[in-house]
């Protein structure tokens, strides 16, 4: 079992959170649907590197990110357009647009690999923000596992009003029957990565433990050590700072 270092934390971390962190890092280093384990770890490393990237900082401070040209400090494992997309998602998500997305896809990155890249990039963002909040070092990224991507394309994925195809709850059958659990209403945020079903399972695991399980979100009596208004205040403030409409 993977051992993670929480040394220096000013408070003990719940066991279910530790298990989720181990699960997420195991997920990151395993062969995925469109990327190998080595490529997924490279995506993870790039997500982390983006938070210290000088070009991203300059773009963030610019009125228009496209006005600042240059190269990211990447390690060469991934194509430059992929690196750029990872850095944009990690450091400047509020200014992503459909035009930007269409440019990424027109540049040669298929939608399936894009969705998986979003999954890995954001998982690492979450792990890093947890460590930053708690005051501990970011978790060491895992060694990649060998193996080939599955190249699995879920039959139920179709246009649903987002930039990427998604699986509607009524189409989550067969291998995807478990995808949305027992929630009566499946919000788009849970469907968002469903073109790559394992990324939905990872997102749900992260959200279930770090927030509340999706089926329990509508119930205002569900809480943790924080009461629900405190939880929603923190959540809303994060989203306001990230300028996220959703």
């Amino acid at each position: 079992m993977r051992e993670l270092d929480y040394d220096g934390a000013p408070a003990p971390v719940r066991e279910d959170l530790k298990e989720a962190h181990r699960f997420l890092l195991d997920h990151v280093c395993a062969p995925g649907t469109w990327w190998t384990g080595r490529q997924r770890v490279a995506i993870a490393a790039e997500s982390r590197r983006a938070s210290r990237c000088g070009l991203c900082q300059a773009r963030k401070e610019s009125l228009s990110p496209g006005a600042i040209t240059g190269r990211h400090h990447a390690d060469g494992e991934l194509r430059e357009d992929v690196v750029d997309a990872i850095h944009r998602i990690r450091t400047d998500p509020a200014r992503l647009s459909k035009t930007w997305f269409e440019g990424v896809i027109a540049g040669g990155l298929d939608v399936g690999p894009y969705v998986e890249m979003v999954g890995v990039t954001t998982i690492v963002a979450g792990l890093d923000y947890f460590a930053r909040s708690l005051g501990i070092e970011p978790f060491a990224l895992p060694e990649p596992l060998p193996g080939e991507p599955s190249r699995y394309h879920p039959a139920g994925a179709k246009p649903e009003g987002a930039w990427v195809p998604m699986i509607a709850p009524e189409d989550a059958t067969g291998p995807e029957a478990d995808l949305y659990g027992d929630a009566e209403v499946v919000p788009n945020i849970v469907r968002a990565l469903s073109l790559v079903p394992p990324e939905v399972r990872a997102l749900r695991r992260a959200a279930d433990t770090h927030y509340v399980p999706v089926a329990q979100i509508p119930d205002p009596s569900v809480r943790r050590a924080l009461d629900r208004p405190q939880m929603e205040l923190v959540a809303a403030r994060v989203s306001a700072l990230n300028e996220c409409f959703y």
């Binding site: 997305f101 947890f130 968002a192 992260a206 959540a235 994060v238």
Partner: protein, 107 residues
């Protein structure tokens, strides 16, 4: 909850216990001043139980993921949420965010 605390227009607790401290810590973590994070962490830790403090860290992590997934996939706001949240969206002026363009009729 007073919505003005969410937008940073108020420095009160906004009707939420320890609200001002929660906002200040969240601001610090999403900012770039490591010293401010350390100060706000100490201050928040002094006011909350250990488990509640870890909950705050977990929530910041969770919504750092969720916001990026939403913005990178262009998902629209769910119709039911859209219908229910008009007043809140107007008060928080959420329509000014670029990602509002992903939800028809949100701007």
């Amino acid at each position: 909850m007073e919505l003005s605390v969410v937008t940073g227009r108020a420095e009160s607790d906004g009707g939420v216990p320890h609200g001002a401290r929660l906002i200040a810590f969240t601001n610090a973590v999403l900012g770039s001043d490591d010293g401010a994070i350390a100060r706000e962490r100490t201050a928040l830790r002094a006011e909350l139980s250990p488990d509640a403090f870890v909950d705050v860290c977990a929530l910041i992590a969770a919504f750092s993921v969720v916001d990026r997934v939403a913005d990178a996939t262009g998902i629209p706001l769910d119709p039911m949420l859209h219908a229910m949240s008009g007043d809140v969206r107007e008060e928080l002026r959420l329509g000014r965010f670029r990602s509002a363009a992903n939800t028809p009729g949100a701007r």
